[in-house]
C-alpha cells in the first residue's frame, strides 16, 4: 500500500473527519444509547486514523472501515463498562474497609481487563479452574471438589490455561519458533 506524505495524509484525515464525523457519532450513539460517550468514541475512531495511517480506495471503503472500527470501539467500551459493573458488584459483597483505594482500583481494572482477554480464549472450566487457583488461591484439591474432577485433571487444566495464556503473549512478542 502506498502512503501519502504526512502533511497530505493529515489533510485527508481532516476531510474524512469533516465528512463522516456526524454519521459515525450517530452510528455509535444508536448502539450505546448515550450521546456523550458516543461523541468521545467517535473522536477515537479518527484518532486511530492518525496513529495507524491507512489509505482508502473509495468513500465506501472508508465508510466500511469507519463502521468496523466504530463497532470495535463500542465493544471495547461495553466490555469496560461490564467489567466495571461486575467489579463493583463483586466488591459490594466484601466489607468497605477491605476496598482498595480508587487509584488502586483503576490499576486493578486495567489488569482485570487483560486477564479477561486471556481467560476468554479458554474453555469455561479451564478458565474457572485457573482463576480459582491463581486469583482465589484455592488448592487443586478444593478446585477438584468444586468442579467435580480429579486433582490430576485440575493440574491438566492449569497447565493448559497457562500454556494458552503464555502462548498468546509469546506470539504477540514474536518469540515463538
Amino acid at each position: 500500500m502506498t502512503q501519502s506524505p504526512p502533511s497530505a495524509y493529515h489533510a485527508k484525515v481532516a476531510s474524512l473527519y469533516v465528512d463522516n464525523l456526524s454519521w459515525v457519532q450517530q452510528w455509535i450513539a444508536r448502539r450505546l444509547g448515550n450521546a456523550s460517550d458516543a461523541a468521545e468514541l467517535a473522536q477515537d475512531v479518527f484518532v486511530r486514523l492518525l496513529t495507524q495511517p491507512r489509505e482508502f480506495d473509495s468513500d465506501s471503503h472508508a465508510r466500511a472501515w469507519l463502521s468496523r472500527v466504530s463497532l470495535h470501539l463500542c465493544v471495547d467500551f461495553w466490555r469496560r463498562k461490564q467489567l466495571e459493573r461486575a467489579w463493583l458488584e463483586a466488591l459490594a459483597q466484601v466489607p468497605e474497609s477491605h476496598w482498595p483505594s480508587q487509584e488502586h482500583q483503576a490499576i486493578i481494572l486495567e489488569t482485570l481487563g487483560q486477564l479477561q482477554d486471556l481467560l476468554e480464549r479458554l474453555p469455561p472450566r479451564v478458565a474457572e479452574a485457573f482463576s480459582l487457583s491463581q486469583l482465589h488461591g484455592m488448592s487443586y484439591r478444593q478446585i477438584g471438589e468444586l468442579l467435580e474432577v480429579s486433582e490430576r485433571t485440575v493440574t491438566k487444566y492449569i497447565a493448559q490455561a497457562m500454556f494458552q495464556c503464555a502462548l498468546l503473549e509469546a506470539e504477540l512478542d514474536g518469540v515463538l519458533l
Binding site: 448502539r31 467489579w87 463483586a90 486493578i108 482485570l112 486477564l115 497447565a159 503464555a166
Partner: protein, 323 residues
Amino acid sequence: MSQRASFDHATLECAADWFARLQAAPADAELHAQWRQWLEQGEGQRLAWSYVERIGQRFGSLQQQGSVAHQTLASLRNGKHSRRRLVSQLGVLAGVGMLGWLGWRSDGLDRVRALRAGYRTGIGERRSEVLADGTRLWLNSATALDVQFDTVNRELHLYAGEVLIETGHGDSRPLRVRTRAGLLEPLGTRFSVRDEGALTELNVYQGAVRTTCADSGAVATVQAGQGLRFDRQANGPLVRAQARREAWSRGLLLAEDMPLAQFIEELASYRSGHIGVDPALHGLRVMGSFPLNDSDLVLAQLQDALPIRVQRRFDWWVTLVPR
C-alpha cells in the same frame, strides 16, 4: 545477543506443565530439582519459563483482591460477554437501547446441551441465523434445534425452547419442523414455534402453517394472525396470534395486561436463577414493552411502575414483595 532468543510450542508446553505441577506441590524438593534441571537445559527453556512467570505474576498482582477479582471475571464469563458474541449482538440488536448485559448465567442448560443440537442458545441468549436456503431463524433463550437439509427435504427439529422462522423463497423442497408434539409444515411464511414439553405452541404471523399431531395424526391449518397449542394427541382451539411470541426476536418482551406472575415466569426464562413473587402480588398486571437483554433493568422498571420492592438475597435469587 546476535540472534533473538526464541522457543517452540513444545518448550512452552513443558514450561506450563512445570508451572502446574510445582503449584500442586510447592514443598516437593525433588520436583524442584527436576524443574531446575529442565530450566537449565538452555536459553529457550529459560525464556519460555519467563513467559509463564509473567502470566503468573499478572494474576498474582491481584491476589490481595483475589476473591473479588475471581468473582468479577466469573460473572463476566457466565454472562457470556465474549468479544465475538458482543460484536454479533451489537450487530443484531442495533437499535434496541442496550443498558446492560449482565445478569445471565449459562448454567442449568445441561439437558439441552446433552442433545448436542446443531443450533443452541444459552439462557438469556438470543440469536439469528440464516440457513442455506435463505430461511431465517431467530432462536430464543435456551433453545436447541437441529437442521437437516437433504435433496428432498428441509427438516428442522426443535428439542427445546422457541424459534421464529421466516421461510426463504424459491426452494421447492418442503420445509418441516418437528417437535415432541408433532409436525409443522409452513406454506411460505413467518411463524414461531415454542416447545413447552408435551405441548407445542404455534403462532403464525404471515402465510399459513399446517400441523399434525404426532400420535393421533390430527391436522389443523393455522392462518396468519392465529395461534394454536397442540400435543401428540389433539389440537387446542385456534386463538389470536400472540404478538409477544414474535417481539423477542426484536429484543423485546411485550406485556399486554399480563398477570405479574406470568410476566415473571416469562422474564425468568431469560435469566438463570430464581425470581420469586409474593402471593400478595398475584393480582397485579403488567403493561408495556421491556428490553430482554437486561432482566435487572426490567425488575427495576417494574419496581418503579408497581407497588412492589425487589428483594435481592443473592445475584441468582430475587424476590418481589409488596412495598
